[in-house]
């Protein structure tokens, strides 16, 4: 299965840019798990944790974020947050 390109960006730096298996983002209307091939999608995030699953069944890496939004396009998932980590 193809990997999802995931970028986490804050105003200060590019926190993470990696190919991962799945990312769970805390959208305002509920959590959503994003995998490769997800349809174009955009949501604002509530303050919470992003869970990054590097491979299937792996322990997720959890990154707290505040104030941001997530965008899925053909280039992968981009999360813009005001602060992360």
């Amino acid at each position: 299965m193809a990997e999802l390109h995931f970028e986490l960006v804050t105003p200060d730096k590019l926190v993470m840019s990696d190919d991962v298996h799945m990312v769970v983002v805390p959208g305002v209307e509920g959590e959503s798990g994003i995998m490769a091939g997800h349809a174009p999608y955009m949501t604002t995030l509530r303050n919470g944790e992003i869970a990054v699953y590097r491979s299937q069944g792996a322990q997720p890496e959890r990154i707290p974020v505040t104030g941001g939004f997530a965008e899925v396009s053909d280039r992968g998932l981009t999360v813009l947050a005001e602060s992360a980590g």
Partner: protein, 301 residues
């Protein structure tokens, strides 16, 4: 001809000036590296943000219900120019270039019969603007306590501006700052930040990525809907733009200061050489005169 003593004092003072400029040059060089990193690190975020806002904006037909920050107030009478400069001088033409760009914009607008207001960030922009446009300064953000611009500062400035936008009858907001190209080149820029400037295909800011997005508007699923996302995003976008301007300014300032101080150090070196030659000539002339006096004295005996 200047006396030997005066020349010596002069050389001494130029030397100590050179020491200062040299020290400032080195300080600026080391701070530049840091500031440059910060500015570069902030670019991806602001570029992505600009892309997203632009692509969202292109999907929404502005109506009376759409957010003011996006569609504007429907008028074009009162313009606010945010002039972001540094707090310190000794950086060549850095600050005056920014102020000049802002002035050109302001004069253009005034010639078209618009009202122009100013919002000053940083100390160095104030005197000129105050002299030329007097009462048009509506506020100043004090950056003297701020060593490195933080996102929190940018958020405060942005909030202040958004509040004023809502209450003070401002129609358009511009941001004047210097874009950091390299140590030698800082480009004074005036950008429109409110309402979000529509992107023209010829716009140099429209990168291939954005153009590609605009060309193929895929069916994107929004959660919540476009308008709500935009309402959430737009104030944040302004903070991001302000933050980027502050960082670019910071890097540009140190770059400019480094160059200016480098020049000043070199000039001081040249001056010391010239003065030393003059000093030695004068010293020799004095010795020769003394010798002539002794010899003619001896001959007279």
């Amino acid at each position: 001809m200047a006396s030997l003593k005066a020349l010596k004092i002069r050389i001494g003072s130029v030397k100590s000036t050179q020491k200062i400029t040299k020290a400032l040059n080195m300080v600026a060089a080391s701070k530049l590296r840091r500031a440059q990193q910060n500015a570069t690190a902030a670019r991806p975020y602001s570029e992505r943000m600009t892309d997203v806002v632009a692509s969202l904006a292109s999907r929404i037909t502005p109506g009376p219900q759409s957010p003011k920050l996006l569609a504007g107030t429907g008028k074009d009478d009162t313009h606010l120019i945010i002039v972001a400069t540094s707090d310190r001088g000794l950086a060549g033409a850095f600050n005056s270039n920014i102020v000049r760009a802002a002035r050109r914009k302001a004069d253009d607008l005034i010639a078209q019969g618009k009202t122009v207001l100013f919002y000053i960030v940083g100390r160095k922009g104030r005197p000129v603007i105050q002299r030329l446009y007097g009462r048009s300064i509506i506020a100043q953000y004090d950056t003297s306590e701020m060593k490195n611009p933080t996102y929190a500062d940018a958020q405060r400035i942005a909030k202040d501006i958004v509040d004023r936008y809502a209450t003070d009858g401002i129609d358009v907001v511009h941001l004047a700052y210097a874009n950091f190209r390299s140590t030698l080149v800082q480009e004074p820029t005036v950008e429109q930040i409110i309402p979000v400037a529509p992107r023209r295909p010829s716009d140099e800011a429209a990168e291939p990525v954005a153009a590609h997005k605009a060309a193929a508007p895929a069916a994107v699923e929004y959660e919540p809907d476009e308008e709500e996302i935009l309402a959430d995003l737009l104030p944040r976008n302004i903070a991001v733009q302000v933050y980027r301007a502050l960082l670019e300014n910071q890097a540009g300032f140190y770059g400019s200061q480094m160059t200016a101080m480098d020049n000043a150090t070199r000039n001081a070196g040249d001056m010391i050489n010239r003065l030393s030659i003059q000093y030695n000539r004068t010293r020799q002339a004095v010795i020769t005169t003394e010798l002539i006096e002794i010899i003619s004295g001896a001959e007279a005996l």
